[in-house]
Symmetry: C2
Subunit: 321 residues, 2 copies
């Protein structure tokens, strides 16, 4: 939950006046999003989300994110669409920060996804990959193999404070993945953060995808590996094979996996579990005093990593040839 920046009503009104959005009727900070400040904004034209980009999002990446949302929406994917000011610009400045108004999506994020939610998110992700195919911009994945070692360097000395042995087994995992990491897999635009908070449903129907601020160009199957981690484990740490099978089948109903993608899945799952363990570990060790955000537990992903290390083939995730 997060609202990092205060916006005065005068600043807000001046900002909205640059758009064809009519009068501001309501404005409330939303307890969602850990990277940015988000506000629910209602104007006489309808509901919108106003996002202020805090320092964790690099300003030079914003044209990629905003362009991608426009591109995907134009191809029928339901996602927030940046609203352009009368100047033609989608990106503005509010309270000293880069700021964007996007369309509001209906729908609920599920806390406890069922297999049918997993199937729907698999299919939705594959539609995203298809819709992104002809997007012209590129953005390397800063949180893939090359990014993990520098991230670990920031946490290594204190990792054993979080759990004894964590530093050693993370180092071993980094070394192993440096050797095992696949290359040459089908690549394109991936969401890279498709956790349950970023997928909306109305009933069991997927109603939209949000939060494209980790989107990048990488192996498509890596996105699937992230979702296996985010959607298919139970709160007790066990892997739910029915959900895994539903996620993969949903994905393949739109875009069948290549054989080499299926073969790479266990390694991609390890890599994506390591990525979330590392970012959570760094956050965990760097909670600023007086922080309003409670960090997420890195050990959840350390345990998932241990699970994936024992997996030998994609069939153990529910994949069927």
């Amino acid at each position: 939950m997060a609202v990092y920046t205060d916006v005065s009503d005068d600043e807000l009104r001046a900002f909205v006046a640059a758009y064809d959005l009519g009068e501001v009727l309501s404005f409330k900070g939303i307890a969602e999003g850990v990277e940015n400040s988000n506000f629910f904004l209602r104007t006489s034209r309808g509901p919108f989300i106003l996002t202020l980009y805090e320092k964790r999002v690099r300003e030079e990446d914003l044209p990629f994110f905003l362009g991608l949302m426009e591109h995907l929406a134009a191809r029928g994917l339901i996602c927030p669409v940046p609203v352009r000011a009368r100047s033609g610009e989608a990106l503005g400045t509010l309270a000293g920060r880069p700021a964007v108004i996007v369309t509001f999506l209906e729908g609920l994020a599920v806390r406890r996804p069922s297999a049918s939610h997993c199937r729907a998110v698999g299919a939705g992700m594959a539609r995203l990959h298809a819709a992104g195919r002809d997007f012209a911009m590129q953005r390397p994945n800063a949180l893939s193999l090359a990014g993990w070692a520098p991230l670990f360097a920031r946490a290594e000395a204190e990792a054993d404070r979080v759990a004894p042995g964590l530093a050693g087994r993370t180092r071993a995992e980094l070394d192993a993945l440096a050797t095992l990491w696949p290359s040459g897999l089908p690549a394109g635009i991936i969401h890279a953060d498709l956790f349950t908070d970023n997928v909306f449903f109305i009933g069991t129907e997927l109603s939209g995808l949000i939060d494209f601020y980790f989107a990048c160009t990488d192996a498509l199957a890596y996105d699937l590996a992230i979702c296996l981690n985010a959607w298919c484990f139970e709160p007790d740490g066990s892997f739910n094979l029915t959900k895994g099978a539903a996620l993969i089948a949903g994905y393949e109903s739109v875009r069948p996996l290549e054989p080499e993608e299926a073969r790479a899945l266990p390694i991609l799952a390890r890599g994506s579990a390591l990525r979330f363990m590392l970012t959570r570990l760094v956050d965990w060790l760097n909670v600023p005093p007086g922080a309003l955000v409670r960090p997420k537990d890195p050990l959840e992903y350390d345990r998932k990593l241990a699970f994936h290390r024992r997996v030998e083939s994609a069939t153990e995730y529910g994949w069927r040839k």
Copy 2:
């Protein structure tokens, strides 16, 4: 900002199913309110606010608060109205807490009120007082004279840690007010917490009052004294006489003050400043570890108190006979 309780989508859907509100379309925690957890809820019937009452609101007081909102709304005051379930009950249970769905009010809370906002809030408060006149229930003000000493007892030993001399001058103020506190003033329903966050505007038009969870039966002019504190001081601590005059004139445009109310205003202003200083002081000294709420500065009200001690008559607040 606060969302203290997690609500799962299954719990939410089951809860909303007891109402004639159609399908849940959206549900987001709101970074507002320090006593309760508040959520923005959109159903196919429109926008609503869902409130979960956390432990600071006493459950036995809820029928008073909910009954009051219904009563005031029925008399034309724009305030949230509790929505009744098909059972006829407005009060339900969600995630183990008392929970209520109320109607959504449009409007913006102003951060930097102008004199015209002050005039509007004065008039709105007087309309609230008038609309509350025939409300049948009573609720004593737990945060008036009799409540301050026990509150201070919880903070006295540590008060000088917050500011040297604070304990001594607060004790002296308590003693002085015990002697000076007026009785027999015109009484009725007061809001008792009409800070800027609880008053919505569209432009300079007042569009609604919210958050009735401190409402009680007390001297009407005490409510005006609270607003003098909350609306008429500048960020640098100075009192803005133009705003004070506008607030009082707005109030009197609906309900003229009795001479004894005007006479009591400086003492009532001291009492209300002391009340907010004390509750903030207790919160300041009792921030739980890992709290997601940043406490408000008690010294802001210690300084306002010092201002009021030097005031000799209501004319210094801008009152004109």
